[in-house]
Amino acid sequence: MRRLRVAAIPAVFVFLASCASNAPQDTLKPDGPISRKIDHLFFPVLGVAGVVFVLVQGLIVVTIVKHRHRPGRPEPVQVHGNTKMEIGWTVVPALLLVGVAFPTIFTIFDIAKEPTKNVLPVDVYGHMWWWEYRYPTLGISTANELHIPVGSPIRLSLHTIEPGLPAAKGEDFATGVIHSFWVPKLAGKQDVVPGRTNKLTIRASEEGEYYGQCAEYCNLSHANMRLRVISQNQPKFDEWVAQQRKPIETPTGDAAAGFALFTGKKPFESKGQPCVGCHTMQGVEGASARVGPNLTHLQGRTTFAGATFELNADNLKRWLRDPSAMKPMRPEQGTGMPNLHLSATEINQLVAFLETLK
């Protein structure tokens, strides 16, 4: 009876897992052809495992019920082994596993295939602790929220960089730590490894917003290195691309004061480094740094700081007051945004400016 209960637990779990609603990173609810291939491979194997599971747990139950000690029972027959049975339970599982191995290997090669038609290449850069996306064929860059056209295979090239750290001789940027790019509903994960460029194809079958996050422990704020993928139909995507290409519009009023602070025309009272030292701002001379995210079209995103916080004025103010208090970082080690010790006025002006960045 005990065993039956134990046997029931995983079965119930799988059932509940498959009907749990509102789990935006559910691997069992694929929304793209690649993640679906994985799902179609996983379920039959789970079925085989389920049969073995029921068999073994069932045998435990039966042996306990049938063979437990009862007074007056004769002493058991001393069986030392049985060669035929041994061969049986060596060969049968081995054959079963051969049956699993073939589709597995087929799918490994299938998923690794380089897509050829209608491919959109994107360079993904893992930073501590946010994602930078650069579209080499479109000449645009953004952060954390990756926009893709629905249906097209997106070929991601995965890199890791830390522009805040000194680069080696002859290199533009220092390499960072290992991350892993993962959007469960679209594809399995692929590690982002310093010193090599891994490739990953993702593809969405539907329009929508997909959640993902870094899946390889990257130290302090690993939990806050999340991401979104926004799949749009081609016209909407093209519109988004056109918007991303635009330089900023010259701001007025409070926003103009914020713009002056941002570019360093008006230094911070604390004498801290201006924002352009780390952030890109298209249309501003020399503002092309990649230590932090490209902020030119910040308001085109719904989140910030590794897709961790909702993008709104209150959160931005809180962030500017002390970034590390909101999201643990190590600015003193060159990884993460430092506290610039801004005055309340400066923060208000900066946020007013940031709100104009459509």
Partner: protein, 634 residues
């Protein structure tokens, strides 16, 4: 007599004589007392590592947990993993190995008693050094796997990782000496007639584990040294900025790390293979198959390491090869499970606490094995790796497997070690609480992982669909804590109790039950002559024409009680020193402990300043010098 023949030694090298009290434990070279030291220390580390797990579960009980900061959380999961692997399961297996291998093969001690003591003290030194990091500016936070480059340079400020590296290098020394000692003991000190294929399966598995340690520990030691050099001497093994390769660390770590999994599980498999026949009153089904599948696992365990690295980008060919090897290591593992089931089949099952834990082991380990097969399906692993699905999987293997098996051993062998039985009622409460708590804690993690919750994240936001099962898991973790509390109460109750265990309370099969409990220092007054596998059983029972069990009318257990009396007589004439039988036992020594203290201080030197290391070096040399120069006996 030996003393009379040699020159009187210089005083500093005289061997200690304490038989009781604190210093007798420091200087002991008795494999049984060293086994107890290993067991008690590992259990204390188990409480510490378990407390770390409870803090982790409190943090994760609800979204956006505020119990711990990110940095504290990262330190705790690093220390939890490191503790449970290196300071709990490995030394617990060493505890059982130390105490029981000599008893099971009919030997009076291990081959190198002082080296044995040294192994324990070095393990303790490494563990204490590692834990002292909490006092010196923060524990390591790089995960138990310590992936470079997040463990080097500016990604890892502070000394935490240095403590981790040096601590593990030191405990590794202990593992190596223990492995060498076990191998020599098992191969050379078996009683007459104890052929290899008559050895109890636990001894076999311990032997396989010792070989695995002998080859795996050097690999991790090399890796740890390289990382240490990268951090402290600016070498460049793993830093891609300067042409090093972080994937090299992963290969080295997992080339150790996967055999390590079998180092952790095989001793428990050995224990279960001892417990099931006793409580089924049947011999182990397919003894030779169980032994050879254990050896096969030992070999195949070296060819599967990259299944920890499927998402690293090794390419489809490598991934396919390791998928295949990983699937096929499931075969010998499955064979064992079926042999255990066949052992119970047709038996006369006595569902005492050790048997409950052994049956629980089969059930829970099977779940871990099956989820393991789903990881070998590489594309599925692209989704599963680094999620809670993996956390669920290895806890079913290492907790549902190793820990359940070790508890089976604890209840089974407690009468040998203490001379008293652990309480059956409390034992059963312990088992049920643990079984339920364990499944509540780790069962839901399968779902959480498939729903996309990654490991090693100190917080998760609302709205991910993970709230409910995380709460359930936390309840399960505290249920496990309750079960461990029950076990602790059971131990104290038994220690206080005056009731002696009957001789051979389980009607067992192997040699450790032929001697008085707790065993005298010399174990066997007369070295037994072994005539069969399960020799003790065959002294008590034979089989009729249908293969049914028949008690041998005279002798058998009567003979043992006679033996007991004989030992009881000798106890009066001087317990523990073997004088009653004129048996010469190795003399105690302070020097193994002293040398270990030296190594520990050298370790601090490696973390801080060379002059601390120099002090440690002097102490280490003094320990080794004394060890080499003390007289053979006092």
């Amino acid at each position: 007599m030996a003393v009379a023949l040699t020159r009187a030694p210089a005083r500093p090298f005289a061997r200690p004589k304490e038989e009781h009290g604190f210093w007798s434990w420091i200087s002991t070279v008795d494999h049984k007392r060293i086994g107890i030291l290993y067991g008690v220390t590992a259990f204390l580390f188990f409480i510490v590592g378990g407390s770390e797990a409870l803090m982790i579960r409190m943090q994760l009980a609800a979204p956006n947990g505020k119990v711990l900061t990110a940095d504290e959380y990262n330190q705790l999961f690093t220390m939890h993993g490191t503790t449970m692997v290196f300071l709990v399961i490995m030394p617990l297996a060493a505890a059982f190995g130390n105490y029981f291998v000599p008893l099971l093969i009919g030997a009076r001690d291990v081959a190198f008693p002082r080296l044995n003591a040294f192994g324990y003290w070095v393990f303790l030194s490494g563990g204490l050094l590692l834990y002292s990091s909490f006092l010196f500016g923060g524990a390591p936070n790089g995960g138990w796997f310590g992936y470079a480059p997040q463990t080097i340079g500016r990604f890892s400020p502070g000394h935490g990782i240095d403590f981790w590296l040096v601590g593990l290098i030191i405990t590794g020394i202990g593992s190596l000496t223990a492995a060498a000692n076990f191998i020599v003991t098992t191969l050379n000190l078996r009683a007459p007639g104890m052929t290899l294929m008559r050895m109890p399966v636990f001894v076999w598995m311990n032997l396989v584990v010792s070989f695995l340690l002998l080859f795996a520990i050097p690999i991790i030691t090399v890796a740890l040294f390289e990382l240490y050099f990268d951090r402290n001497f600016g070498s460049n093994f793993f830093n891609a900025n300067l042409g090093g390769d972080p994937v090299l660390w992963q290969h080295l770590f997992w080339l150790f790390g996967h055999p390590e999994v079998y180092i952790l599980i095989l001793p428990a498999m050995g224990i279960v293979s001892e417990v099931l026949p006793v409580f089924s009153r049947k011999p182990l089904f397919g003894y030779s198959v169980v032994v050879f599948s254990g050896i096969a696992i030992g070999f195949m365990g070296w060819g599967v390491w990259a299944h920890h690295m499927f998402a690293v980008g090794l390419g489809p060919v490598a991934n396919s090869a390791f998928a295949a090897s990983t699937m096929f290591i499931a075969v010998p593992t499955g064979v064992k499970i079926f042999n255990w089931l066949a052992t119970t089949w047709g038996g006369d099952l006595r569902l005492k606490t050790p048997m409950l834990f052994a049956l629980g082991f089969i059930g829970m380990f099977t779940i871990g094995g099956l989820s393991g097969v789903t990881h070998a399906v590489v594309p599925a692993d692209y989704q599963q790796t680094d999620t809670y699905y993996i956390v669920a999987h290895f806890h079913y293997v290492l907790f549902g497997g190793a820990i359940f098996g070790l508890f089976a051993g604890a209840y089974y062998w407690a009468p040998v070690v203490t001379g008293k039985m652990l309480d059956e009622t409390l034992g059963k409460i312990h088992f049920w609480l643990m079984l339920i708590g364990f499944n509540l804690a780790f069962g839901p993690m399968h779902i959480l992982g498939l729903q996309g919750q990654p490991r090693r994240t100190y917080q998760y936001p609302k709205g991910m669909g993970w709230d409910f099962w995380n709460a359930v898991s936390t309840i399960g973790a505290f249920t496990i804590a309750l079960s461990i509390l029950t076990f602790t109460i059971n131990i104290f109750k038994t220690m206080k109790s005056k009731e002696r265990a009957p001789q051979d309370p389980w009607d067992a099969r192997t040699l450790e039950w032929t001697i008085p409990t707790p065993p005298p220092e010399y174990n066997f007054a007369e070295i037994p002559v072994v005539h069969a596998r399960d020799d003790f059983w065959h002294r008590k029972y034979t089989e009729d024409e249908q293969g049914r069990l028949v008690r041998i009318p005279s002798g058998g257990s009567d003979e043992t009680s006679a033996l007991h009396e004989q030992h009881a007589d000798s106890d009066d004439s001087g317990h523990g020193d073997g004088h009653g039988h004129g048996i010469h036992m190795p003399s105690p020594s302070y020097f193994p402990a002293l040398a270990s203290v030296g190594i520990m201080i050298v370790g601090y030197g490696a973390i801080y300043h060379w002059w601390i290391g120099a002090i440690g070096g002097v102490i280490l040399l003094a320990g080794v010098f004394g060890w080499g120069n003390e007289p053979l006996s006092e």
